[in-house]
């Protein structure tokens, strides 16, 4: 498998060895329910408490108890948004501001709330994939209950000016949530410095396990529960704790935040070399701002070809990548993210996302640079759309 390249780390990451080792005892040895009184239960409780402390430390939350464990990024987003909507309703506020290219965990939650009488404003993200603070300020109304803007986009990796956006929301007395699923563990996150009220994270995006995430909630925000039942998470989120999951997430995050500057310097260099190398391809383009961007994200369009066929060809060559192209998601529409950047449908269909982590190497970049251009050429040679593009450019 030496030729295999995993370049889809924004989709999910490999569980780190440290996380796996940390988790193991909590499946068969310390399997007790933390809510139980006997010693075995207490051991589980200590593990959950320690994981909470570690994660709070990694995002500089003032208190461990500001971190609530959930099942993943989608639940964290649902809880933050539906909870804030309910808080707003008590004050007669039924307006929420977000952006056009949020993850579907946010967009579909907002659509659900619209059906229940809320009004939603989606900010433009422009050609560079960045929200404009002045446009947020202009969109805030008397009845705005929440602003929710993602930290970094999952397809194109653009990083929003979260601190500035949160300040604007707070100036108008509005709560601010950020879906930081793609950012936590990748870039430095300090919730106090950022000034956010709520922040979502997901374990499996930073070499932790799947099925576990967390929502940071600033002290004093009395968010209503999403999952009702037992008194876990101080009565805020019911359900027996995923002990191994939270232990693994904490171990992975501690490891991930250890060497952020060095890792990102290396990944940025790899990313830029790949983008520069692929930009040589005729009629290719980079999607999203090149500077305000996650260090491991490359997202490009190649005109005249369709994304899914590109992915399949790459897979045949041992490279796992993804596309914004809808073909993989069961709908015929191209990526809502690329359409939000203003790309026409036919170009948005030909997108490719390559995302890297600490486990990728310069050799991976070499391999992609040698394999990808001939694939683009081959698919174009059999594309009637490419034929039209070439003929039109001759006219």
């Amino acid at each position: 498998m030496s030729e295999y390249v995993y370049a889809d780390n924004a989709a999910t990451t490999r569980l780190s060895d440290a996380a796996f080792e940390a988790m193991k005892p909590y499946f068969t040895e310390y399997f007790g329910n933390p809510s139980s009184l006997y010693k075995l239960g207490a051991a589980s409780q200590r593990a959950v408490d320690k994981a909470r402390e570690d994660i709070a430390g990694c995002i500089n939350a003032p208190r461990p108890t500001d971190v609530y464990f959930v099942s993943g990024g989608s639940e964290a987003d649902n809880w933050a948004i539906k909870g804030a909507a309910e808080l707003g309703l008590k004050k007669g506020k039924k307006h929420i501001i977000s952006s056009r290219f949020e993850h579907h965990a946010v967009l579909h939650t907002l659509e659900y709330l619209e059906k229940h009488g809320y009004e939603v404003t989606l900010l433009e993200v422009h050609e560079d994939g960045l929200v404009r603070p002045e446009e947020l300020e202009a969109a805030i109304r008397e009845d705005t209950a929440l602003v929710t803007i993602m930290f970094a986009n999952n397809e194109i990796g653009t990083i929003q000016p979260i601190k500035e956006l949160a300040e604007i929301a707070h100036k108008h007395g509005v709560l601010f949530h950020t879906d930081a699923v793609q950012a936590v563990g990748t870039v430095e996150i300090d919730v106090q410095e950022l000034g956010v009220d709520m922040l979502s994270m997901s374990g499996h995006k930073f070499h932790g396990p799947k099925g576990v995430g967390a929502l940071y909630i600033k002290k004093g925000i009395r968010l209503p529960s999403l999952i009702h039942g037992g008194a876990q998470e101080r009565g805020m989120r019911a359900g027996t704790e995923n002990i191994a999951g939270v232990v693994g997430m904490a171990a992975a995050l501690k490891e991930a935040v250890e060497n952020i500057p060095e890792r990102n310097a290396r990944l940025t260099k790899m990313r830029d070399r790949l983008i520069d190398g692929l930009s040589v391809i005729d009629r290719s383009r980079v999607n999203g701002d090149r500077v305000h961007r996650l260090p491991g994200n490359v997202n490009m369009c190649f005109e005249g070809i369709e994304g899914e066929s590109l992915l399949l060809m790459l897979d045949l060559k041992g490279i796992s990548a993804s596309s914004g192209s809808a073909c993989t998601s069961g709908s015929l529409d191209p990526s809502h993210v690329l359409l939000a950047l203003g790309l026409p449908h036919e170009i948005a269909h030909g997108s490719l996302r390559l995302t890297f982590s600490d486990e990728n190497t310069e050799e991976d970049i070499d391999r992609i640079l040698s394999v990808l251009p001939p694939i683009v050429e081959r698919l174009r040679s059999m594309s009637p759309l490419w034929e039209k593009i070439v003929n039109n450019s001759k006219d």
Binding site: E306, S309, L316, S325, L332, H345, H349, P384, E387
Partner: protein, 142 residues
């Protein structure tokens, strides 16, 4: 979503791919907006499709169904080719995921569009023979 081995074979090693400069009929269906365009070229002699080729912009299933459709009509009579259904293309590929069924419809339409063009070039009204070439329903929704 997973493709059958046959789909992957026809995707990775498409049969009859490329332009045909001296084609007797050329048909093009689909549009770039919904992400699939198929172009079929046919050569006809004595009512037999002696040669056929295609060019396709689209997903893996679009390329595989184009390739399979050309295989199914190559060397056959026009009458046989007119009987080609999307179902036959799908079956020959050991099935398609539900969201990809429209690709097989497009492949059927592309063959008919090429035959239609052939009749038009012969000075014969194609509609009574080939019927109307309609876009597939999913493309209509866009």
């Amino acid at each position: 979503m997973a493709y059958s081995e046959k789909v992957m074979d026809h995707f990775a090693n498409p049969r009859n791919v490329g332009e045909m400069p001296d084609a007797d009929g050329i048909g093009e269906v689909g549009n770039s907006k919904c992400g699939d365009i198929m172009k079929m070229y046919i050569k006809v002699k004595d009512n037999i499709i002696t040669d056929v080729s295609f060019k396709t912009f689209g997903c893996g299933a679009a390329i595989a169904t184009s390739s399979m459709a050309t295989e199914l009509v190559k060397g056959r009579s026009i009458d046989d080719a007119l009987q080609l259904t999307n179902k036959a293309v799908m079956e020959a590929l050991d099935g398609l995921p539900p969201v990809k069924v429209h690709c097989s419809v497009l492949a059927e339409q592309a063959i008919k569009a090429a035959l239609s063009d052939y009749y038009t070039k012969q000075g014969i009204d194609p509609e009574p023979i080939v019927g109307k070439i309609s876009e597939c329903e999913e493309c209509h929704l866009h």
